[in-house]
């Protein structure tokens, strides 16, 4: 299968600033794809390059097999939902949604019909006659979606579309966007700085730092097997412990606070050499060993340094011997499990299969 969107060695310079570095990317038809990264990482520049608002300094961009070099934004099979939504305030909701149909050959009644269908699709039926500026944030977002989808683009580009919404509404829109994407079958490319959002919504995620793609993977791989320490740190919470590789063939290492462990090849970068390295482990992959609960294979002594009670979870910062930084452990608050106090000594347990090795 050929990719719907194909970027090869795309670079973008603004004077001395290297905004995109050798971006290679293939996105398939019907995929929900996310560009994830901190602000200034180039994710929006990349999206705008696909939309046609920025021209790559070098490299090529193909959409559905056609070279997009020199093709202006208004001639590309892409439509965009802007961060500010960019709803035209002087037009009604229906005029906003139908804006893209102005140049189409459809009859007037067909245009009205497709505006109604688009409004229906985003749950705004009956809103057509309203003034655009009288809408709430969530409604504006829906209008922006309907307006961009009415032209049935090959690709829908979404530039941080949920960042302006409050938490409840954002969560609701996340699942609605996902449902909408499955329903219309259009390729969605979402730009976000919210790692949770990217994991929840996407089929695949490209994590970007400093204009380059650091890792491109599905959400589970990204979370379980981050390729670099930076990716692991950016996605969710991860503890990092100094380690020393003693046997690169069997991948045996001494980890500060945890002792000697042997890990599988897929937990380590290819071509691991002996010497100083670092391992990463997620908070939920370690547990406080309470009376009568089974251990996870390995055990170490620890002291509680700090504690945060979240209701459903308790987060402990524990001190492990020989580890300079406190290690975060999350525990579900199930019945019969006490909440430990700061200063108590305890035992922690973990599974060697949950470690990730990073070359340092």
């Amino acid at each position: 299968m050929t990719a719907l969107i194909d970027l090869k060695n795309v670079n973008k310079y603004y004077d001395d600033y290297h905004a995109l570095r050798d971006v290679n990317l293939e996105i398939a038809q019907g995929e929900f794809f996310s560009l994830l990264g901190p602000s200034g990482c180039g994710k929006t520049t990349l999206l705008r390059t696909i939309a046609g608002f920025e021209a790559p300094s070098d490299g090529s961009l193909h959409i559905a097999g056609a070279n997009m070099n020199g093709v202006p934004a208004n001639a590309r099979p892409t439509n965009m939902v802007f961060q500010s939504y960019a709803i035209f305030p002087h037009l009604s909701v229906a005029e906003n949604v139908g804006f893209g149909l102005r140049k189409s050959q459809l009859s007037k009644s067909d245009k009205i019909k497709s505006v109604e269908e688009a409004l229906d699709m985003v749950g705004l039926n009956g809103f057509g006659g309203r003034a655009a500026h009288a809408l709430s944030g969530g409604q504006r977002q829906r209008v922006a979606l309907a307006r961009a989808l009415i032209l049935k683009p090959k690709v829908l580009l979404l530039d941080e579309p949920l960042s302006a919404l409050d938490k409840k509404l954002r969560e609701q829109m996340q699942s609605e966007l996902r449902r909408l994407q499955r329903q219309v079958g259009i390729t969605f490319i979402l730009v976000t700085h919210d790692q949770e959002e990217a994991l929840i919504m996407s089929d695949r995620v490209a994590v970007m730092f400093d204009g380059a793609i650091a890792q491109l993977a599905d959400p589970q791989t990204l979370y379980k097997r981050p390729r670099t320490r930076k990716v692991g740190d950016f996605i969710g919470v991860m503890n990092f412990l100094p380690a020393h590789v003693t046997d690169p063939n069997k991948i045996t290492l001494d980890v500060a606070g945890l002792g000697t462990v042997t890990i599988a090849p897929e937990q380590a970068p290819s071509g691991t050499s002996s010497g100083a390295a670092e391992i990463g482990i997620r908070p939920e992959m370690m547990s406080i060993l309470f009376e009568g609960e089974p251990d996870r294979g390995e055990i170490a002594e620890a002291t509680i340094q700090d504690r945060a009670y979240y209701g459903d979870m308790t987060y402990y910062d524990v001190h492990l011997k020989n580890v300079p930084e406190p290690v975060t452990i999350s525990m579900k608050n199930i019945i019969g499990r006490p909440v430990l106090e700061v200063g108590e000594t305890t035992r922690v347990s973990w599974d060697a299969r949950s470690l990730v090795l990073f070359a340092s």
Partner: protein, 266 residues
């Protein structure tokens, strides 16, 4: 607090008492401008249309003001748009020099324009006044339009292009409607500036005086002063009407853009 209020009242009296005298003497039944008033009359208003030179000067002024406001607003739209949308070399100094006529003494502008026009062998008339007025009105138009263009979310124009419009149709369908209140303000402001401008008009007007130049020439004849007062009354009423119109347009624009009214000039 109390002294502040009396200061404000004194200030307003100082500002508007002279203007309030205009209608008082315009309806006064005496040629001498002095108290006590002698009686009520509308004679000066009925005399107004019977002075052909005055009517001509009004027509001439209106013609100049209309063309000036249109030209300087058009130039202002181009400059404000360029300043908001593009970055180019020497943008700041260029914009700065365009704005300088705002503070340049008009007498200097007037004399230099006169010298150049005479050197070029052009005859003075309405169009030479229009040239001078466009020069001083354009900075005002840019100042008004610049904030409107700067406040325009660039995503609005990008959204229209993204939906298949050309840059020109985007400008027509999205940009212009969104900045139209500022355009109307610029038209009204430049119209009023041109209408009552004296110095440039005095130097460049030739044989067809504008209204301010004509009024100035009439001050030498005391008998004409009540008529001038009557005309002044009409002009003040017209100005107030225009201001109300401009403010209504501004509020309407805000409402259409769904913005909060943070208070304009009025």
């Amino acid at each position: 607090m109390k002294s502040l209020r009396s200061y404000a009242i004194l200030y307003l009296i100082f500002l508007y008492a002279p203007i309030a005298l205009l209608p008082i003497f315009a309806f006064n039944d005496a040629t001498i401008i002095a108290f006590p008033l002698s009686g009520f009359t509308t004679q000066w208003f009925t005399e107004l249309p019977q002075i052909p030179a005055l009517i001509d000067s009004v027509k001439n002024s209106l013609y100049i003001a209309v063309i000036t406001s249109i030209l300087s607003t058009l130039l202002g739209i181009c400059a404000a748009r360029a300043a908001a949308k593009y970055s180019f070399r020497f943008k700041r100094p260029i914009m700065g020099f365009i704005m300088v006529p705002l503070v340049l003494p008009e007498i200097i502008v007037a004399v230099s324009l006169l010298v150049i026009l005479l050197q070029l062998g052009l005859s003075l008339g309405a169009w030479t006044v229009i040239m001078g007025h466009v020069l001083i009105c354009t900075p005002f138009c840019i100042a008004i339009l610049n904030s409107a263009f700067q406040n325009l979310d660039s995503a609005m124009e990008e959204a229209a292009i993204d939906l298949g419009e050309t840059p020109w149709s985007t400008f027509r369908l999205v940009t212009l409607p969104l900045v139209s209140p500022a355009i109307i303000s610029a038209l009204l402001i430049s119209f009023t500036i041109s209408l009552d401008e004296f110095i440039i008009a005095f130097f460049l007007t030739g044989t067809e005086p504008t209204l301010p130049v004509y009024l100035w020439s009439q001050l030498r004849f005391p008998a004409r002063i009540p008529v001038v007062m009557a005309l002044g009354t009409i002009l003040v009423a017209g100005s107030i009407l225009l201001l109300i119109l401009a403010e209504m347009m501004r509020r309407r624009g805000l409402r259409r853009a769904g913005l909060q009214d943070k208070g304009g000039f009025l």
